[in-house]
Subunit: 227 residues, 2 copies
DNA sequence: AAAAAAGGGGAAGAAAATTTTCGACTTATT
DNA sequence: AATAAGTCGAAAATTTTCTTCCCCTTTTTT
């Protein structure tokens, strides 16, 4: 399994030490850097490009934790930020979620919980914790929609490969995998793999859902005449 | 010279035809697609990833030109959008500039001017035209700063290669090219080339300016201990 | 004014990241 | 049971990005 690089940001020496010990105790986790302020955290993040950031949200010196999280998210949208908090103040936690963090933990959380959170974040599973779960979930659904369903969709389209685009067109025309394979002169297995990647990019589990969205956005005619 | 792919977006058939003729008359310009509405323009942009978009800003049906420009800019930040306008309404032109367009032209502009604008945009030179020049220039300077000088700088840092980062560190320590070359055990020429790329990424013309910025942002200590 | 350093452009080869291709296996549909 | 849909992994091919170095011009030092 690949190595996961982690950036620690906490202004208290003792807390940093504890996190360092925990991370070092797990084989495929490693420390990218250990920052003592929000400002340092942003700089180290830019330099080291960690997979995960464990950020104390209560830091105040130089740059607040929430602000630092937001900056890091702007610079490295794919880096997963996990926030550490002492008092579970739902409002702060919620504010942080809006700036791009993917999970939060109590600072006193047991080792196992921290490690699990790291793996979850790395694998894109947000184990949204109970207390603020609902507020976040509904709010997030809203944001994702309003980030313009259209922009969101087009961004995905722009990231498709030429083959995927072509296959999307053929799928929208109602063709089956075997038929598509014949047209493209490759094995069905290849087409299946490519549709699989396609679905992953659209974050959907079936072609039906993708086609439904294409139709809802009235994109069929445009996709149809892809060269 | 490479081929430049251009997307045309205008709701009037005659205007599209004229632009198509102009583009086809130049050897290394080619038409990626020709859109009849802002909506189509966004879709085609996502599908074709053109280098340049020539967008009629007065389109209204389905999606306004300014809105379409803004969407395309979100999806493809590197695509250069040139706006076409009939009445030179500075406010509209200015609004458009804020959403990511890089130049504007009168619709009646002569062929030569259009072609020149395309090349300028492609080569990242904004020939900012006189009438609104000052307003835009000052406003833009402000925006570029306030887009957080810090975020902007860190984004660049995050895009440096390992060698470039290393060289930046050595430059900040006051070393000369020859000395850096010795440390890295390569020819001075190599270092010179890499510093050149470094400067391009920072959009600066000399290492001095880069170092000044590093110091202003108090980043020297952090950069110093890059592994 | 000469020498040294800084900077720009281009191009070949190396290295890294993506894409394409396909087989094996699992789960839904018909 | 058969067909279709979908997932995972992995080798080969392709594309992109980095590295390296050469040649040439401009700026700075001495």
């Amino acid at each position: 399994m690949e190595n996961i690089h982690i950036l620690i940001a906490d202004d208290m020496e003792a807390h940093r030490r504890r996190l360092e010990r925990i991370i070092n105790s797990v084989d495929n986790l490693s420390i990218a850097a250990s920052a003592k302020s929000g400002y340092e955290a942003v700089a180290y993040a830019a330099i080291k490009k960690p997979d995960i950031v464990l950020m104390d949200i209560e830091m105040e010196s130089q740059m607040a934790g929430v602000k630092a999280a937001s900056e890091i998210h702007k610079i490295l949208p794919d880096t997963k930020i996990i926030m550490l908090t002492v008092h579970q103040d739902n409002n702060i936690v919620f504010a942080a979620f809006q700036t791009g963090i993917v999970d939060y933990l109590m600072k006193a959380a047991p080792k196992e919980e921290i490690i699990e959170a790291i793996y979850s974040a790395y694998n894109n599973q947000s184990p949204i914790r109970p207390i603020i779960a609902e507020k976040i979930r509904t709010e997030f659904a809203r944001i994702k929609k309003s980030e313009d369903q259209l922009t969101y969709f087009f961004k995905i389209i722009a990231n498709l490969t030429q083959s995927e685009l072509e296959i999307l067109k053929l799928l929208c025309s109602g063709l089956k995998r075997k038929e598509i394979a014949d047209i493209r002169a490759v094995e069905v297995e290849t087409i299946k793999k490519q549709i699989s990647s396609l679905l992953k990019k659209f974050d959907k589990n079936s072609t039906k859902e993708v086609i439904t969205e294409v139709n809802e956005l009235r994109l069929f005619d445009l996709i149809k005449d892809i060269s």
